[in-house]
């Protein structure tokens, strides 16, 4: 039986606390589009995307209207393109042609991002993987909506340091290719360890080869709702704090579950997973940092931040898991800098550094995210940062990622603006000591031991 107080609570969450469904992401396998010819592959890719996702945006809008809940993004993820293009692409330019096809299809379908311009190279790179990786700077400079990701390691395989070193160079080259737009190419490029096959969030979304032909995954959000709930219990003990977060996460996730099931039914596509993530936006009141402040920290970065984040992340999962029939993706609290006004404030106040953010990534999803650093940061230092983050993921059996923007022509004290959901960010200092002798070693870091946990 519906009661009025629950109705008022639901609508307050939506109208005052920015509750929304962050994304409906349709995962589409392009394995059957592979052929020996680039033009034929591009035609097949385009045809399949249009056929499967033709009504995705309209369906999302209809569901938003029916339930009165905003569905912010409608997106697509595809099979890693390094696999799809392996049999036809013999140069980076060949891969860029596929990127253009994806971009054109995304624009026509009205989706704001399409993920999967990706390579999974946890243990080693095939020639096609390497060609795709080398094509990333050009592909991201010449497209608008394509997102790229490279998985460089996993708990089972260790870390492919050759790929890490190459990605340090690729991140730099991507920044330089998009210099006139604050190096925005890097905002669409993420380097992962233990990347999930069913992540609906960009830039790391791709439709893994373990998935079926087509699937619908949904990412929920709602940091503002958690913050409001915590404002109602100032100074409460940890039990009350945790129970409140858990209860709130449950409600947020139930909405995601409803939307996911409805989208799957209307699109005639299987429901995949709900990603239980607290995903902030640059809007005030939609911030994970503000939750940390409400928990009792002056700014994120203050001593205690890692513990507070660990608590938050764990309670979100505990509440969310009960609310959904299938949970997957990244599932946790995101701590991007440019996309979270509270994080930006913390950096500007001098409270938050890259080193503290790195510590925070040990206990939450997903990694060093949307961090602007000086444009003269060496490629080897970026590779070192990627290796550190991948090591955290590998050892802790969790997904970690690096989405870092070495903003060409800018340095500490400058600000960059990417616009929209990508937000704006102060350029942060990077440790200036050299790691090139470490990064230049060839080969891979072996998989870690899975016993003697300390």
């Amino acid at each position: 039986m519906i009661n009025i107080s629950e109705v008022i609570e639901t609508n307050r969450m939506i109208q005052n606390e920015n509750l929304d469904v962050r994304t409906i992401t349709m995962g589409i396998s392009l394995l059957d589009c592979a052929s020996g010819d680039v033009a034929a592959t591009c035609r097949a890719v385009r045809e399949k995307l249009m056929r499967y996702a033709g009504s995705l945006v309209k369906t999302g809008e209809d569901i938003a209207c029916d339930f009165g809940i905003p569905i912010v993004n409608k997106r697509i993820s595809v099979t890693p393109i390094s696999i799809v293009g392996a049999s036809c692409c013999s140069s980076p330019e060949d891969f860029v042609q596929i990127a253009r096809t994806l971009d054109d299809a995304a624009r026509e379908l009205g989706v704001n991002f399409l993920g999967g311009y990706s390579a999974v190279v946890s243990k080693g790179m095939t020639p096609a993987d390497e060609l795709l990786i080398r094509s990333i700077p050009q592909a991201l400079a010449e497209t608008e909506r394509v997102c790229s990701s490279v998985n460089v390691g996993s708990t089972k395989t260790g870390i492919d340091m050759d790929a890490v070193r190459l990605m340090g160079e690729i991140v730099k080259a991507t920044a330089e290719r998009t210099e006139e737009r604050d190096s925005i190419g890097c905002a669409k490029l993420v380097v992962l360890c233990n990347a999930p096959d069913d992540n609906p969030f960009m830039a790391g979304a791709f439709h893994g080869v373990t998935e079926g032909d087509v699937v619908v995954n949904v990412g929920v959000s709602g940091p503002g709702v958690v913050k409001y709930a915590l404002e109602q219990i100032p100074g409460a003990d940890f039990e009350t704090l945790c129970e409140t977060i858990k209860r709130t996460a449950f409600k947020i996730t139930r909405v995601g579950q409803l939307v996911a099931q409805e989208a799957a039914r209307r699109l005639g596509v299987p429901f995949g997973i709900i990603d239980l993530s607290l995903a902030p936006t640059p809007a005030v009141g939609d911030s994970v940092a503000e939750i940390l402040r409400e928990i009792g920290l002056e700014h994120p970065g203050a001593p205690g931040t890692t513990a507070a984040l660990a608590l938050l992340n764990d309670q979100v999962k505990k509440g969310g898991v009960m609310a959904s029939s299938y949970v997957g993706g990244l599932s946790g609290a995101f701590i991007p800098v440019s996309e979270d006004q509270g994080m930006i404030d913390a950096v500007n106040a001098g409270a938050l550094t890259i080193e503290k953010l790195e510590a925070m990534t040990c206990v939450c999803s997903v990694g060093l995210d949307m961090i602007a650093v000086p444009g003269d940061t060496p490629a080897e230092s970026i590779a070192g940062i990627i290796a550190d983050e991948a090591a955290i993921g590998m050892v802790n059996q969790k997904t970690t990622a690096v989405r870092i923007i070495p903003v060409a022509g800018k340095t500490v004290g400058d600000t960059v603006a990417f616009g929209g959901l990508l937000g704006h960010a102060p350029v942060m200092a990077v440790n200036r000591f050299d790691s090139s002798r470490f990064v230049r070693r060839k080969g891979r870091i072996p998989a870690p031991i899975h016993s003697f946990k300390n």
Partner: protein, 90 residues
């Protein structure tokens, strides 16, 4: 049964229910339940209605009620009931 929840928020005035019910009756929409309360000085009303007998598309009903709300200085929202049923319990 096609359950829809209509919520009205704003300053209490004469004739709110009459206006909404006139529209609903004229379009074959049955009212199943009405409750109201005051939250932070604002009048909050919830109606549960059944749209199974109407031929009008949902978006049109929601739009028309929204327009009535704007005319009367109220906020009238129209949402399918599942969001409320699902959110608070398994």
């Amino acid at each position: 049964m096609n359950k829809v929840v209509i919520t009205v928020v704003g300053k209490d005035t004469v004739g709110i229910l009459a206006r909404i019910c006139t529209y609903l009756a004229g379009n074959g929409i049955n009212v199943c339940d009405i409750s109201q309360t005051i939250v932070q000085g604002l009048f909050n009303m919830m109606m549960i209605v059944d749209t199974a007998q109407t031929e009008k598309p949902f978006a049109e009903i929601a739009g028309a009620l929204n327009a009535i709300g704007e005319e009367m200085g109220l906020e009238i929202r129209c949402q399918k009931a599942e969001i409320f049923e699902k959110m608070h319990r398994v």
